[in-house]
């Protein structure tokens, strides 16, 4: 079946350093989404990417969808303590399939 993987599982960074998490699918995706879950909270939708090679930015966050639509990345520039949490990617093969979540990357930011 379809699998969505993320690396790294954990990342500890000094405040101000950059951070990147990578998401890889075993199959081509119709779209990919990113969610953030703060400690003790629930996942919150961040963004959706649909087009091959698409790049979207939200302030210090840059999201990219691979040309083959099988991988994606989330890059955070100059991390802040408010960036702490687990970042999940989620993809679906077609618009009729259910979303498959990756296992998440847990980010810790050392002040």
């Amino acid at each position: 079946g379809q699998q969505v993987m993320q690396i790294p599982q954990y990342q500890h960074v000094q405040e101000g350093e950059d951070f990147t998490t990578y998401c890889n699918s075993s199959t081509t995706l119709s779209n990919i989404q990113w969610y953030k879950q703060r400690p003790g909270g629930h996942p919150v939708f961040l963004i959706q990417l649909v087009k091959s090679g698409e790049v979207k930015k939200q302030k210090r966050l840059t999201f990219q969808f691979g040309e083959a639509k099988k991988n994606s990345s989330l890059h955070i520039t100059a991390t802040q303590t408010t960036d702490v949490g687990t970042y999940f990617c989620a993809g679906m093969k077609t618009s009729y399939d259910k979303v498959i979540f990756g296992p998440g990357t847990s980010l810790s930011v050392i002040p």
Binding site: G41, P43, Q48
Partner: protein, 112 residues
């Protein structure tokens, strides 16, 4: 605007007791609804999803069941809880044809 409610927020139940968690969505019609479970420090495990009233798909064989008695109501149940049922239970909704999911605040269940 749409909102999603879950209750209770926390629950401590003895092994062998029944369970009923409720999720309701406001401000939308005919949403797709999902139940996930998250163990501490782990990812999201999809338990059930529903595309309409009375339509339930189960992802993982277990002693849990789900029901959707109304369009915007999704219930997770168990007749007899196991220790392994402990976790953070999250309900989510998405509009049909739009794959963004919106999660409720979750229920932290501890089975003792």
């Amino acid at each position: 605007s749409q909102t999603i409610h879950q209750w209770p927020a926390t629950l401590v139940q003895p092994v062998g007791s029944p369970l009923s968690l409720e999720c309701t969505v406001e401000g939308t019609s005919n949403p797709n609804l999902y139940w996930y479970r998250q163990a501490a420090g782990r990812g999201l495990q999809l338990l059930f999803y529903s595309v309409g009233i009375g339509q339930i798909s189960s992802e993982v064989p277990q002693n849990l069941s789900a029901s959707r008695p109304q369009d915007r109501q999704f219930i997770l149940s168990s007749k007899k809880l196991l220790l392994s049922d402990s976790g953070f239970y999250l309900c989510a909704w998405e509009a049909v044809g739009i794959s963004e999911q919106y999660f409720g605040p979750g229920t932290r269940l501890t089975v003792t």
